[in-house]
Symmetry: C2
Subunit: 209 residues, 2 copies
């Protein structure tokens, strides 16, 4: 069952940005730093490798009460009993996904503009991921950055819980929270940090104020 | 429910080899030529596009009684009510897949050598796909061709129904059937033919003798 509080600090994994460290090591350190939800994202791994990673993460996170969400792949989520699935605009439609996963699964949907947030599909997930907030060196095909004011306007168009994503660092995220984000979804700002736990700690402290 | 007779002439789709023709046009013509099962294979399409293709094929094939199998993706199969899933050695293990799809789904597994056919996983699917039979110009990362004698030896290692795959044309497939194949799985030999229905007809005639 979805608790919006779990959106506070969402780690989105990225194998290529993890400086060669294992997924389990990176996620383990990030959770020690206060990550409240993990989204496993694999865009090129074969299904079997993806499944094995997901199963290992589930074993790590379930005892800690940290929800595990799978990017795009409902089959992987169903096979390992993940807590939900996060989809983008070219992934499975939310209604179809809900039919596969059932009413208790957490479903998130990525949104990059006003047209998407006004579509019927945007009314169906448990939360929305809005972004990208800032320019990202690591994602060459990303939509134009919203910036804080763009985010504020887009956020006002929905009553759903939202996480902000895209180029977030501890030192540029406070205005995003002030603009109405329920949480922060972080990729390179955590997995690409030399000190993963320290980077997650710094994000966590933003919520202490 | 699985009927081994449906393995006789399996069409495996390939967008890149279809000479720019639509999937529906190619599969429709192939079925007119006697194709008895269709496997939808998409290795790079986004999930939503894959899903829409699968749904369109299901609408085409279900009224004709031709089973539709999805390559690799159990989520797509579940979402559209496909008849089954075909997996390779780096896809989801058959036992996991069976748990997702249930007892009535058709599950096929690709096998390229004796080690794979001796593994416990090879005892679980409804049928095995053995190959590649012949050299294929179109698949650069394929295993070494079995040839007819290699196929015959591998085929003898299992009591499962098997389809042969890999470089099959109407004029090189008769010895493969004589060596114990229950059916032929064909990619470029049908989807890449200028006359798709005619190419399927030629394969179909192999079964008349």
């Amino acid at each position: 069952m979805f608790d919006p509080a779990s959106l506070r600090l969402c780690l989105v994994t990225d194998r290529d940005l993890s400086l060669g460290r294992s997924l389990i090591d990176v996620v383990g350190a990030a959770v020690q730093g206060g990550v409240t939800m993990v989204q496993l994202r694999e865009k090129t791994a074969p299904t079997r490798a993806f499944l094995e990673e997901a199963r290992a993460l589930k074993a790590l996170l379930a005892p800690l009460g940290v929800p595990l969400i799978i990017n795009d792949r409902a089959d992987i989520a169903l096979a390992i009993g993940a807590d939900g699935v996060h989809v983008g605009q070219t992934d499975m439609p939310v209604e179809t996904l809900r039919g596969l996963l059932g009413p208790d699964a957490i479903i998130g949907l990525s949104i990059t503009n006003h047209q998407q947030i006004s579509s019927p599909d945007a009314a169906l997930p448990d939360y929305l991921g809005l972004g990208p907030l800032y320019l990202q060196q690591t994602k060459t095909n990303a939509a134009a950055p919203l910036g804080v004011e763009g985010f504020r306007t887009l956020r006002a168009a929905t009553s759903k819980p939202v996480v902000a994503i895209g180029g977030l660092k501890a030192d540029n995220s406070a205005p995003v929270l002030a603009a109405g984000a329920n949480g922060l979804a972080v990729v390179s700002g955590i997995v690409g940090a030399a000190d993963v736990k320290g980077a997650a700690d710094a994000f966590t402290r933003l919520f202490d104020h």
